[in-house]
Symmetry: C2
Subunit: 228 residues, 2 copies
């Protein structure tokens, strides 16, 4: 069992994915490599949107501030994800703010350059389409989650997602990137006090561990998401 799984991922590791290589190889003008430190701002809500970004290393979150001043985390993105793709279909202003939550490296590609590249490189285009489809599915899941579940379940789901996020294998116990209750609240769509309350509940039930670093017992938390 253990062996089978190891073999599988070894095989998967062998398959060279040409995604970023393509970008690197064939685009010359209108492409920049940018480095951001933790909390570095890639772009801000309301700015002109004239380029698309691709995460190469690190993690980036997309946040939105409502008219009323509430803040929400729309998504957390890791390597290969695109950011700010809206500009490719006429979105002239950024609808959200992109912030690195770890030291990160991104490609920045001019809108027109990207459109040309998509036109010229079928392989790139195909990869990009696939990533859009995946994002779509994620967004639909998030929407269902909001529509169906109360905040306790939603928090459990967010914790699970964060635990898997960037984890090579699905560990039964996965350490999470450090995230404040405040941020969790913005991801879940609730208040900090509520998050605090449920985090303690989860801890006392043995579903998570934390003193500083948070550790998630996936199988147990999964039950919370699925049942009752």
């Amino acid at each position: 069992m253990q062996t089978t799984r190891a073999k599988k991922s070894a095989v998967r590791g062998l398959r060279v994915d040409p995604y970023l290589q393509n970008l690197l190889k064939n685009i010359e003008d209108g492409k920049t490599v940018l480095k951001f430190s933790k909390n570095g701002t890639v772009f801000s809500q309301g700015e002109a949107a004239d380029s698309i970004y691709f995460v190469q290393t690190g993690k980036v979150k997309i946040t939105v501030v409502s008219a009323a001043g509430k803040e929400a985390v729309l998504s957390m993105l890791g390597p290969r994800s695109s950011i700010g793709e809206g500009c490719l279909v006429g979105q002239t202003l950024r609808i959200g703010t992109a912030t690195a939550i770890q030291p990160s490296t991104l490609f920045r590609i001019e809108r027109r350059t990207m459109l040309r590249a998509l036109h010229a490189q079928p392989e790139l285009s195909e990869k990009f389409t696939a990533s859009l489809l995946s994002r779509n599915i994620d967004l639909e899941e998030d929407l269902c989650d909001q529509l169906f579940n109360h905040s306790e379940k939603r928090l459990a789901r967010v914790l699970l997602k964060l635990a898997c996020f960037g984890q090579a294998e699905n560990m039964p116990e996965a350490r999470m990137p450090r995230v404040s209750h405040e941020t969790l609240a913005e991801m879940v769509g609730t208040t900090r006090s509520r998050v605090s309350h449920f985090m303690n509940k989860f801890r006392s039930l043995g579903l998570i561990d934390y003193n500083g670093e948070i550790t998630v017992r996936s199988e147990l938390l999964t039950d919370v998401v699925l049942h009752d």
Copy 2:
């Protein structure tokens, strides 16, 4: 003013969009044209997902039923929208149910056929990418709406969307497709009684009219979405 606008849309009308034509022209095997009557089921949640659909005429809604038996409307789709695209990136089962809410005509294209076509026809691929990007933006908006707004505002927004849906020009007063309070509730993410309550409130405030058919006064309802 009136003249300018008329000219504009006349010009727009002239530009032939090659989207569906491409599909028609170059795909031969693995493509079917299907007609659905009102309430006809295109596919059901849980079925095997081996094809993608494109709305040619009519309207289709995507609904999801939760483990707890709650039902939600994920989206309403009109001409040119794709349905069930998830199958292109490894989604083997339908995550939702697609139902025609009007007599509708759809293309059905086998998964493999579509993948081949995307590979072979850059122009098709480009159009498809653009539609995915737009859907993405819509989904993000919906998610923000859920995260930020209470059900009253969300209902107002749904009404506005429905009023624009399929309307050639943005009329100040737009008639909506006939939708029950029950369905509105599933779109907004709340209960029927709540919808009923707010609909009456909106009516008594003069924001909408209805006795059977629903008419929306867009400028007024827009205020509800934006303020207070």
